[in-house]
């Protein structure tokens, strides 16, 4: 077995007095699909944002693809990290002044140094892959939430990341638009992409993830195959959370 693609050791994060992550140890294998669930305020989004250093951790270590990107209290090799890790946000965060294709192409040209033609070719291919060939020239304000989110996925994929992070990517969508985004994510998981997804979609976690992690109070309470964590949780806190979520 090769080295894990992500290794997190004793990761801590505080916002002032508030301890959000109190010591996370986590290893993710290449090609693994991990879903993180838990109540709001459990630190699951913060964990995700720490992995690509949108939040600077307060302590601990993070290694991505064998390279230490955080340790000794400061970020290291930030450029490499951001190249290897793609992120999709709850609020899409498409660039409103750029068309769908331009959204996907910009960082390819400016960060990876691809030619405009090469980047645009790749962008159209990816927009096709997420089912938006016909929307390639539209601006974000002409796209539905689900379409915007699929453009955002294409934008992250365009950088050829080793790992994709999904931060509650369906939470801001109207119910009828959720499925299209989940389908794209499922297809991505099948293609062997390493994925970490913070989600409230229990069905998605059950069907697609190799491992489900339940977080609460800034720690990983339990983790394992989704069938175990979701259907036969060992911890009282997990049972309570699932009881509340599945009842609704």
């Amino acid at each position: 077995m090769s080295d894990p693609i992500i290794q997190i050791g004793d990761l801590k994060k505080s916002f002032g007095e508030l301890d959000v992550l109190t010591g996370i140890d986590l290893e993710i294998e290449k090609g693994e699909v991990v879903c993180v669930i838990g109540p709001s305020g459990s630190g699951k989004s913060t964990l995700l944002r720490c992995i690509n250093l949108l939040e600077e951790p307060s302590g601990g270590t993070i290694r991505v693809a064998g390279t230490q990107v955080f340790g000794d209290g400061k970020p290291q090799n930030l450029d490499q990290l951001r190249r290897e890790v793609g992120m999709v946000f709850q609020q899409f965060n498409l660039f409103p002044h750029l068309s769908a294709t331009e959204n996907v192409s910009l960082a390819q040209v400016k960060v990876l140094g691809r030619s405009k033609a090469e980047a645009d070719r790749k962008s159209r291919e990816l927009l096709g892959r997420v089912g938006l060939d016909e929307k390639a020239d539209e601006y974000p304000d002409r796209l539905s939430g689900g379409q915007q989110q699929r453009v955002a996925i294409a934008r992250a994929l365009a950088m050829d990341p080793e790992v994709m992070l999904f931060d509650e990517v369906t939470s801001a969508l109207d119910p009828e638009l959720v499925q299209g985004v989940l389908d794209v994510m499922r297809e991505l998981a099948d293609s062997g992409m390493t994925m970490i997804s913070v989600t409230h979609e229990m069905g998605f976690a059950r069907e697609v993830s190799d491992r489900t992690i339940f977080m609460d109070g800034g720690v990983i309470v339990e983790q394992g195959p989704p069938a175990e964590v979701l259907d036969a949780p060992r911890h009282e806190r997990t049972r309570k959370f699932l009881g509340l979520v599945l009842a609704s």
């Binding site: 690509n52 949108l54 450029d79 951001r82 190249r83 890790v85 793609g86 992120m87 946000f89 609020q91 965060n93 498409l94 660039f95 409103p96 002044h97 910009l106 960082a107 400016k110 960060v111 990876l112 974000p140 304000d141 955002a152 934008r155 992250a156 950088m159």
Partner: protein, 246 residues
């Protein structure tokens, strides 16, 4: 009533001095356009300097804030005198070359250039604040998305944040431009015969204010359409916001 009309609307005086006032207005226009463009650029530079990240740039940010506060806190009239007196004195003492101390670039007289410099210094500070408001109005998710794609701070400012910020602040920048245009009349104090000075020259010769009225009309011909245009743009932006467009 007739005397009132005579004082402000003596068409003979307006006709006789039309060319003279128009010549002054041509200085007003040139000062406004050049000063406006330079202020827009200088303001943007200041706003970007103010946003530089990290501890290393703290002195730059501090100096920028001090500059902006300072220049916004003193009258433009004073800045004009400071530039005019200062540069001229430094040149005559030989501290700076005469080409800079007593500028006559492109064959235009030095009061024009002193005025342009003073206007740029002051209005750059005003416009920096407008840009800052625009930059801060861009949601933080935009920066996060740019950074998650591997863009540097500079790249995300240049390609993502500033283009959106500038669109948001075009109306307030135009408002500042209207104020700037009116303030160009202050440059008359160092000897530039712009619109207001031209009107005053005619007034002191004829003891009649009609040339000043002409000056006012010339200003309004530019400022009123601009003000209407700003309103139109704000309305259009509000409509977009109502439609939920970012």
């Amino acid at each position: 009533m007739d005397a009132f009309f005579q004082t402000y609307f003596d068409f003979t005086i307006i006709e006789d001095n039309f060319g003279y006032v128009l010549e002054g207005f041509w200085w007003t226009i040139r000062l406004s356009i050049l000063g406006g463009i330079l202020s827009l650029l200088w303001g943007l530079v200041l706003a970007v300097l103010r946003q530089l990240p990290g501890r290393a740039f703290a002195p730059v940010r501090w100096l920028t804030v001090a500059y902006i506060d300072g220049l916004r806190g003193i009258p433009l009239l004073l800045v004009i005198f400071l530039i005019y007196g200062g540069l001229g004195a430094l040149a005559s003492e030989g501290v700076i070359p005469e080409a800079i101390g007593i500028p006559r670039w492109f064959g235009l007289p030095s009061p024009f250039w002193y005025g342009t410099i003073a206007i740029t210094l002051t209005y750059g500070a005003y416009m920096a604040e407008v840009y800052r408001a625009g930059i801060e109005a861009v949601p933080s998710g935009q920066t996060e998305a740019a950074r998650s794609l591997g863009m540097s701070h500079g790249q995300s400012m240049r390609f993502i944040i500033v283009p959106q910020a500038v669109r948001k602040v075009i109306p307030p920048l135009l408002n500042d431009f209207i104020a700037l245009m009116k303030d160009t009349s202050l440059v008359s104090v160092i000897g530039l015969v712009e619109t207001v000075q031209a009107g005053r020259d005619v007034y002191s010769e004829t003891f009649n204010a009609s040339a000043l009225t002409l000056g006012a009309v010339l200003f309004l011909l530019v400022t009123i359409p601009l003000a209407r245009f700003v309103d139109w743009m704000i309305n259009r932006q509000n409509l977009k916001v109502q439609r939920g467009v970012p």
